[in-house]
Amino acid sequence: MIDEGRPLFLQIAEAIEESILDGTLVEDGQAPSTNELAAFYRINPATAAKGVALLTDKGILLKRRGIGMFVAAGARSILLAERRTTFAERYIDPLIAEARTLGLGPDDLAALLRERSAPIGDAGSTASTEGSSA
């Protein structure tokens, strides 16, 4: 799971963020300690500590003296807002750029998105209604 091209501490921070977003780690619940992270990912504890520090600086994690690391209340909404922005930059912007070269406008894209994200079960019926509206 470790990507060679990027700093490890960033990847550790992202892995924790991912666990908070998918509900594996809950707000006010205990988060893994630096040493647990180091042992699990088989990385240097100082590197794991740097990843954890990044999240405490952002208010995602907080340290309770003597008890350990916890997920801060409101951590999920901070992350969701952050992810929404990066999602738009990383996926939507290139999507729009590529669509433009194909001559597809925002309405065409929206129609395509609806068509593609329709549940498998009623894909046929959705496709036909989209088809008639386009």
């Binding site: 091209g5 501490f9 040493n35 180091a38 088989r42």
Partner: protein, 305 residues
């Protein structure tokens, strides 16, 4: 951060060979260092001077602020696990560990016994009858259980299989997390230790080629692969440390961080971008250094112990 080792302009000459050529570096406490480099680069020479098992020709090496030679105050706080460690002829692992227990004041007997179990080391076999891997395990166990303030592991893994090496890395990390100390690990298995080491020191031809945070090196170099003309155009003005071609396809390894815009531009150009592992980076850097300084570096072929 406290400095535990301070090396200034250290030079070691063996007759016509220059094993260390004006090396200066500092080692911080409670940090795991990886010392990387080719055979004969000077790794073992450096470690043996720091542990008072060898003399420098010139320059200075201070350990805990003092010269280590015949200095019990320094030597009782360091442990050197070397690849070619010699033991008395008739001794068994039991003898070796008993001696280590007497010498190292932080020795943890319980930890040693757990490690003996982990490595399934036969305790009553004479050391000279042990396999290469078992011999390495004796050194690894002493290095770990000694909990010395500075522990040098000089290629400690010879003959250890993949499972035993993983045990070594895992126990090292666990114990280091609980009892922070300075670990200086030399290795050729760079990919295996890349995530363990906080700082990396690359030695080549007796000189320090790189001395940096390991994490800072990630993303330091990148491979760009694709149509030869496009790749060459892109690489124009960049620091190319390696280049290979196959027909119309060229791959270049370039130094320098690529930001999101540059990455996007590479993709838009139809070129592929691949990460460079620490091992690849070290190989490329040392190849580069030896080819540019081949007249001085190539004369050093074998490291002298």
């Amino acid at each position: 951060m406290t400095t535990v080792i301070d090396v200034q302009n250290l030079t070691k000459r063996y007759k016509d060979k220059l094993a260390l050529d004006g090396v200066s570096l500092t080692i911080d406490e409670n940090t795991i260092y990886g010392v990387l480099g080719r055979n004969g680069a000077g790794k073992t020479t450096l470690m043996s001077i720091l542990t008072a098992q060898n003399f420098a020709t010139s320059g200075d090496a201070l350990v805990f602020g003092e010269r280590p030679y015949e200095n019990a105050r320094v030597l009782s706080r360091i442990c050197f696990v070397r690849e070619s460690q010699k033991y008395p002829d008739e001794s068994t692992p039991t003898h070796a560990f008993r001696a280590a227990r007497l010498f190292f004041r932080n020795w943890d007997q319980e930890f040693a016994e757990r490690l003996i179990d982990d490595f399934q080391l036969p305790m009553k076999t004479r050391i000279k009858k042990l396999s290469r891997g078992q011999l390495s395990a004796v050194g690894v166990i002493i290095g770990l259980a000694s909990r010395a303030e500075i522990t040098f592991f000089d290629e400690p893994y010879l003959g250890l299989d993949a499972v035993a090496r993983q045990i070594f890395y895992d126990r090292l990390l666990e114990d280091y997390a609980e009892f922070p100390r300075t670990i200086i690990l030399s290795s050729h298995l760079i990919d295996e230790v890349a995530n363990l080491i906080e700082k990396v020191i690359v030695i080549d031809g007796g000189r320090i080629l790189l001395d940096e945070d390991t994490d800072a090196l990630r993303g330091r170099a990148a491979n760009v692969i694709g149509d030869a003309t496009k790749v060459e155009a892109w690489a124009q003005g960049r620091e190319v440390i390696h280049r290979e071609s196959l027909g119309r396809v060229t791959s270049v390894t370039v130094l320098g961080h690529l930001d999101a815009a540059e990455r996007a531009a590479i993709a838009a150009d139809g070129l592929d971008l691949a990460a460079v592992s620490l091992q690849q980076l070290v190989v490329r850097l040392t190849q580069n250094a030896s080819s540019s300084a081949s007249d001085t570096a190539a004369t050093i072929t074998e490291e002298v112990h």
